[in-house]
């Protein structure tokens, strides 16, 4: 496949690994913020292949994992209201809320539909004029503009039954909160590639400038991650701290102006609850006043169940990178992909799920 296969060539990966091996002298800890990067790293066993001096830890860049129980409970409560169809990305279906999940609600009669795109949710709204379609808006800055576009399209097409439950989150504020918490000594950051395709590389500059942590924006294929690690090691060994783009074919420093325009037209920042981190200011998105009629929180009298956190679950610590799945007493015993206790085990890019599925720490 064009622009995918070429970036998986193993002989080129070998070359990068050799270069990293040669360059890396000081022990360093790099964090890949984005869950998509975590998946690639586990899929190819990259941690096994990197020299011992390079330690990689996963961060909270999994929008599924960081969705607070209270927010998921709202979506579940909505799905159980008569006349409501909840359209959701597949990722959210099995995530346990305080006492149920969207999948369980569906089994109990709620109309929950999995979609690949907000475009499909709009279609469902069109085919079901007598029902209300609530789109479960999760995701970071990669996804938020697509939801914004769907709202604008709904406005254009005069769809009166399309709503959005906005649980979108923004990346830079949470990285700042992580660094401020100071629990983790990070020497380099692998920046999310597709979020950066939208917001550009400039929003990451405060990390290099104020915290002295070099940043490299990475793509998601094997060669992309290795190239990014190589560039980070190079900066660290050289004593530099800058934001660089490795994923040059998809990311420009200024980002995607049109996407940002639409996102800022429909949404505005608001405080948001992040699992494991509590409330982070200006890290969520809510619909602006002009688009309030699409806001599911305002249109419906949502009565979620009382919030309850699962006992023994340390997803929060894992998301902050201060603990690993192996540290969790529930991992692999009580908490498995078939019976997840917390979201890190459900989301395909959650640390726990990736560890479980790909057997982290496994000697081969």
């Amino acid at each position: 496949m064009k622009y995918i296969s070429e970036f998986r060539r193993s002989e080129l990966a070998q070359g990068l690994l050799t270069q990293i091996q040669r360059r890396s002298k000081t022990p360093v800890r790099l964090m890949e913020f984005c869950g998509g990067h975590t998946v690639t790293i586990f899929k190819y066993g990259i941690r096994q292949l990197l020299p011992e001096t390079v330690d990689m830890v996963s961060g909270p860049g999994c929008p599924i994992c960081v969705t607070a129980n209270a927010d998921l409970d709202k979506a579940i409560a909505l799905s159980q209201m008569p006349g409501v169809i909840v359209a959701t990305f597949g990722d959210m279906l099995k995530v346990p809320g305080s006492d149920s999940s969207l999948q369980e609600a569906k089994a109990g009669g709620a109309d929950v539909r999995t979609v690949y795109s907000a475009m499909d949710a709009l279609k469902i709204a069109g085919y079901n004029p007598d029902k209300s379609i609530v789109f479960l808006g999760i995701g970071f800055e990669t996804t938020a503009p697509t939801i914004a576009a769907s709202v604008l399209q709904a406005e254009e097409e005069v769809l009166r039954n399309y709503y959005v439950l906005s649980l979108h989150k923004l990346c830079p504020p949470v990285i700042r909160a992580l660094l401020d918490a100071g629990e983790l000594k990070l020497h380099g950051l692998v920046c999310p590639g597709h979020v950066s395709a939208i917001i550009g590389s400039r929003p990451w500059e405060f990390i290099a400038r104020d915290y002295g942590v070099p940043c490299v924006v990475s793509g998601f294929e094997l060669l992309d991650i290795l190239q990014c690690v190589d560039m980070l090691v190079d900066q660290i060994e050289d004593g530099r701290s800058r934001v660089e783009i490795a994923y040059r074919r998809a990311v420009r420093p200024e980002g995607n102006k049109q996407a940002l325009k639409l996102m800022n037209q429909v949404f505005e920042p608001c405080p948001a609850q992040w699992r494991g981190m509590g409330e982070v200011p200006d890290s969520g998105l809510k619909l602006k006043k002009e688009y309030q009629r699409f806001d599911a929180e305002l249109a419906f009298d949502i009565k979620p169940v009382p919030t309850r956190e699962p006992a023994g679950c340390i997803c929060g610590d894992i998301l902050r990178g201060v603990k690993t799945p192996a540290d969790c007493k529930l991992f692999g015993k009580v908490c498995t992909p078939e019976n997840p206790v917390g979201p890190c085990m459900v989301s395909s890019e959650g640390s726990c799920s990736a560890s479980y599925l790909y057997g982290v720490g496994f000697e081969g």
Binding site: I64, G90, T114, K123, E338, Y356
Partner: protein, 334 residues
């Protein structure tokens, strides 16, 4: 005949008889079925293989097949995986009222065609009609019997360290073909389900070598799940190489787009064989000569180190564990 199936068609009365005789018996014509006795009666001697399955696929018509073809092939393949020559099938329909007669006819025609290719007869059956909403258009239940020749001993618990693992062809075709038609996920592709009866392929393989240890068709849960089942049943480990597993480009593309792993996507016309190392070449050659095995390849080996574990070696030489599928394959954004 009216154009829709009604509750009355399942009630055993005149309409039901009309449905059975006109639509079903006529299309599936064979002497045992034509007798219309309550049970089909036949002689056999030797070891019998006996299987049952239910088919609830949605949508019932998909590129490359339909629920009827699937029902015959799936049942025939279960028998073939025991090394049996499939002989007779039972076929029960649970029809949701309102299904169009023309749709049922299409399914029955598929059944007839598939049965003919597989060399089996549908000798007994049943028809029920349920209220709207109680069955997703059409459910089919089957049972099948076949005869296992002397000297054949194929079972999931026979794998031995050193055995080779052979895959009969590309994986993921069926699951992706079905998903391409599902609401909310639709995309356009020429990809068709690989739904096929494998009795002939298995017969060729057994002729090449009577020492085949295991056969499994990787249906729901995909190749990964079948390999895990075999590893657990036999108490062995299995190591496969990612580069050796054939995957069509369209399947790869759809999986990339939706976030699926082809290892977990369903197949309906493929099999995995575990054979002693000295027989691997013979079996592979025989498979490649058969239309349903032309892309057959050795994809791995059986080991003894960690019983029940399946490991895949990636292109770079790193290894990862391949577990069973847990739950459904869901499209994801992350």
């Amino acid at each position: 005949m009216k154009d829709k199936i009604l509750l009355a068609h399942g009630s055993g009365g005149k309409l039901a008889h009309e449905l059975v005789e006109k639509s079903l018996v006529k299309a599936l014509a064979n002497p045992l079925l034509a007798k219309l006795d309550d049970s089909a009666v036949f002689d056999f001697s030797g070891r019998l293989a006996f299987t049952t399955d239910s088919y609830v696929v949605s949508p019932i018509f998909f590129p490359g097949g339909d629920i009827g073809k699937l029902a015959v092939c799936g049942t025939v393949n279960d028998l073939a995986m025991s090394g049996a020559k499939p002989l007779y099938l039972s076929l029960s329909f649970i029809i949701e009222e309102g299904l169009l007669q023309s749709e049922l006819k299409k399914v029955v025609d598929s059944v007839q065609k598939a049965a003919k290719e597989a060399g089996v007869d549908i000798v007994t059956g049943d028809t029920k009609v349920v209220h709207r909403g109680s069955a997703d258009k059409l459910f089919i239940n089957t049972a099948g019997v076949g005869i296992i020749a002397e000297g054949i001993n194929i079972s999931g618990s026979n794998a031995k360290p050193g055995d080779k693992v052979i895959l009969s062809g590309t994986i993921g075709d069926h699951g992706i073909a079905v998903v391409s038609r599902r609401e909310g996920l639709s995309f356009v592709t020429n990809l068709e389900s690989d739904c096929a009866p494998l009795g002939g392929l298995v017969a060729d393989m057994v002729k090449a070598s009577p020492n085949i240890h295991c056969l499994r068709d990787p249906t729901r849960g995909g190749l990964a799940t079948s390999l895990n089942e075999l590893a657990k049943q036999s108490g062995v480990s299995i190591r496969i190489e990612e580069e050796k597993i054939p995957v069509r480009e369209e399947v790869m593309a759809a999986c990339e787009m939706l976030g699926f792993d082809p290892l977990y996507v369903a197949n309906e016309g493929k099999l995995v064989a575990i054979v002693p190392p000295n027989d691997a070449d013979k079996v592979l050659k025989a498979m490649r000569k058969n239309g349903y095995g032309k892309s057959a390849a050795v994809i791995g080996e059986v080991g003894s180190d960690k019983p029940g574990r399946v490991v895949m070696e990636t292109a770079l030489g790193a290894s990862r564990i391949v577990d069973m599928l847990t739950g459904d394959l869901l499209p994801r954004i992350c």
